[in-house]
Subunit: 467 residues, 2 copies
């Protein structure tokens, strides 16, 4: 993939993922094939989240008075908020914000719902559209003005410790979710100057896209008592005293789909992990006049066989030549293409093509067929996962030379370096290198010196070109 940006744009349009020609900059349409990928991705996400939180749905609009309450928070978003000022032909009494995120929509309600320690912990999530008036260059799924798929979870706890544990739990959920999709990640504690507006600290997941730029694909924030104090969310503890709750929130967006597409794709198109592929097996009948009915009947039979094990299967019976069908489904990234012609049927066999390796495999049309196909799908999951993680490792470099870093980054790497952790020092590094510090990747126990050569290094930090 020589030019990732071009590849990503072309594939999105060619296989019907998004259409960016909508007449508002930064807002695209989810086309049918993309919508299906999104749907299966959300199903997996919901499975994980439903174990931990309850799903809800809050209104889109936030009264200006609520949004403005938390000073640090509103400052972080003031240049990005879309405002509704008119209803019908009248000016509204109060401006209404399109949610950029939902803390200020949800927490006034948390203040109503939480009365006592028995109401805690309270853990809700929602999957909604959110809005940011982006002034930078927009790009479907990556930098958009309508985030169509914003998953946000919001929890409230009785103690600081529980909130910290919740942050860890969300991180575990994200790890498992990304593992399911074969998306590798780097976890950092974001630097002070780049944390979520209003948070005590922010843990972030980044992935390295094929062009070497990192894409933030998930964040978990420990909010401490900042919002609780602003929105007066108090509970009566067991001793009958009133205390502020400790809060966390965690978010994922459309970018997960961008990573899914970008990290696994190749020159021939998408390579979708079976778990999210709209079709997992595409059957391509090879038809001649002779034996046509038998081949069609066998294809139907195989479809039923696979569907009985909850596999998503289609038969491409379009009246076009098989080569074009192969091309189309390779582009769409369907994990297994199964072809069946009259000669195959006679020999009681079929040929399947794996999308990941493009390998062709002869399989007998016997009792083992179903299990053989399932084995291939599982192997594909593993290979896509390993391949993506190997790519990430190749792009992970350590450096102790400030001058070398820009070169390494321009070559498509993320660079780890020893850092003292001081804000002023960090911002100086960003200025010298002219790239962004992702944050603290690891704590350092051994004796080491900050890359600036002065202080003791307490951490390994990462620096990269970011989306």
């Amino acid at each position: 993939m020589e030019n990732f940006s071009e590849w990503f744009h072309d594939i999105s349009e060619e296989v019907n993922i998004t259409d960016a020609r909508y007449p508002i900059k930064g807002m695209s349409i989810w086309m049918p094939y993309g919508f299906q990928i999104r749907k299966y991705t959300l199903e997996i996400l919901r499975e994980f989240l439903d174990e931990e939180c309850e799903e809800t749905l809050f209104p889109l609009l936030i009264p200006e008075a609520e949004l403005a309450k938390e000073g640090l928070h509103v400052k972080g978003f003031e240049d990005e908020v879309y405002w509704v000022t008119k209803g019908g032909q009248k000016d509204l009494n109060e401006c209404l914000a399109l949610r950029p995120t939902s803390e200020t929509a949800m927490y006034p309600m948390y203040a109503l719902w939480i009365r006592s320690h028995i109401d805690l912990p309270m853990k809700y999530y929602q999957i909604v559209n959110t809005f940011r008036y982006e002034t930078k260059h927009t790009r479907p799924l990556i930098r958009v003005r309508e985030i169509t798929t914003f998953k946000e979870a919001h929890t409230a706890h009785a103690t600081k410790e529980e909130a910290a544990e919740q942050v860890e739990t969300f991180m575990e959920i994200y790890k498992n979710f990304f593992d399911c999709l074969g998306i590798p990640f780097l976890i950092c504690k974001r630097p002070e100057w780049d944390k979520f507006p209003g948070a005590d600290y922010t843990m972030a997941f980044d992935t390295i896209m094929p062009d070497g730029k990192t894409l933030q694909i998930g964040t978990v924030h420990n909010l401490g008592t900042t919002f609780a104090k602003t929105f007066d969310i108090q509970f009566e503890n067991k001793e009958g005293e009133h205390e502020y709750v400790y809060q966390t929130c965690a978010g994922l967006s459309d970018r997960v789909i961008a990573a899914l597409i970008g990290l696994h794709g190749d020159e021939k198109g998408l390579r979708l992990p079976p778990v999210v592929s709209p079709k997992q097996i595409t059957i391509i009948p090879i038809l001649f006049k002779e034996g046509k009915e038998e081949v069609i009947a066998k294809c139907d039979e195989l479809k039923k066989l696979f569907e009985a094990r909850d596999l998503r299967v289609n038969i491409d019976d379009r009246d076009i030549r098989p080569g074009k069908k192969f091309y189309d489904w390779e582009l769409k990234g369907t994990p297994i293409k199964l072809e069946l012609g009259p000669r195959d049927l006679k020999n009681n066999k079929t040929i399947i093509t794996r999308r990941d390796t493009l390998e062709k495999i002869d399989l007998e049309l016997d009792d083992n067929l179903l299990n053989n196909v399932i084995d291939v799908l599982e192997d594909m999951d593993e290979k896509l996962y390993n391949n993506a993680w190997n790519n990430q490792e190749d792009k992970f470099k350590f450096s102790d030379d400030l001058e070398e870093i820009p070169k390494l980054i321009e070559e498509g790497n993320v660079v780890a370096f020893n850092w003292c952790g001081d804000t002023e020092c960090g911002q100086e590094i960003e200025e010298i290198v002219d790239y962004d510090i992702l944050g603290i990747y690891e704590e350092l126990d051994e004796d080491a010196t900050c890359i600036t050569g002065e202080e003791r290094a307490n951490y390994i930090a990462l620096i990269a070109k970011t989306y």
Copy 2:
């Protein structure tokens, strides 16, 4: 249910369906239990729609220039549209509407996508939030400013006949969908003065709520070529000539859930059709010191047994008395409550309580248990359906006396009457009776006279008090 309005409000809050205390009038929160009902309802709807259309997702915001293009349409919505006029701290160059419905968001894209007759029919749908600046009294799920669950399907066809057939197909889908939920309906062709702005004609589904007022729960519109001409949606036919497409659209909203709750509920709370109930079987262990482990083990075993057949089951193991558990799940409308204590276990039996009839049934803990439970669930589906349709029939009256109609309506009925079909005559009837004509219910073949006593009656029309 003496006071339906009060009942509906109370039940919504008590069982966590919606919370209307959000600080914007007409915008509520879907609470966890309500969200689950909504989720299962949408799953059923998607199953029906996916057979017919492909799901997509269009942006929320519509540029003013697009919304304003279709004159009739914009006139119908101009007092109801919310306008975004600011992004960050800047005024936008062009105002952006929060979609009141998505014709004007989708059809400019249809004009790009449709080139030739082979692109037709084009059938997409989406399930999104839409906005109406309602000035009337708002009420959760029934009259809201944010419709959170707006399903809209939009199709384009090569011929007028195909579009008319599509209208019929959507009506069939709606019938099947409402049948699944046990929601009875009346189908009318809306009168000219009440059709969708821009449509050739509108077919509407109404249901009669317990207070006798009708609630519009679904509409299907034949748009003819009105929007095609406005948005220049043309295709090249087989002869190489350019023609405008014929379009239809069809919509459902949150009101389906309002009907589901309102029509089946009773004084003790919700009575949810098994198909949409978050839990279909709630197991209530009756625990004493003695035999506690055995009862818990058996409850777990039963849960697994039911879940293996894809039933949604929970065990209420809260440390409160069983009576309170019974009360809670009766309120929430869980179809079957299954209780199991040490004595039951000894006698190898269990008692289940049907939510619809409140009947208690002894069942053996034998190999037939699963099928017996499934039979009860199926019978409940049927009983709730029949009960709701019988209630509707009781409220359906015919009258040939204009003066009698207001009295019949105030008693909670919908009234059928003979009508000539003339607009002026219809509006005069509405003025005299002071209620709304729902539309044409049936064509009349036999000789009859319009209720106004002058013209020949061509139709049976319906008139009612509407939501």
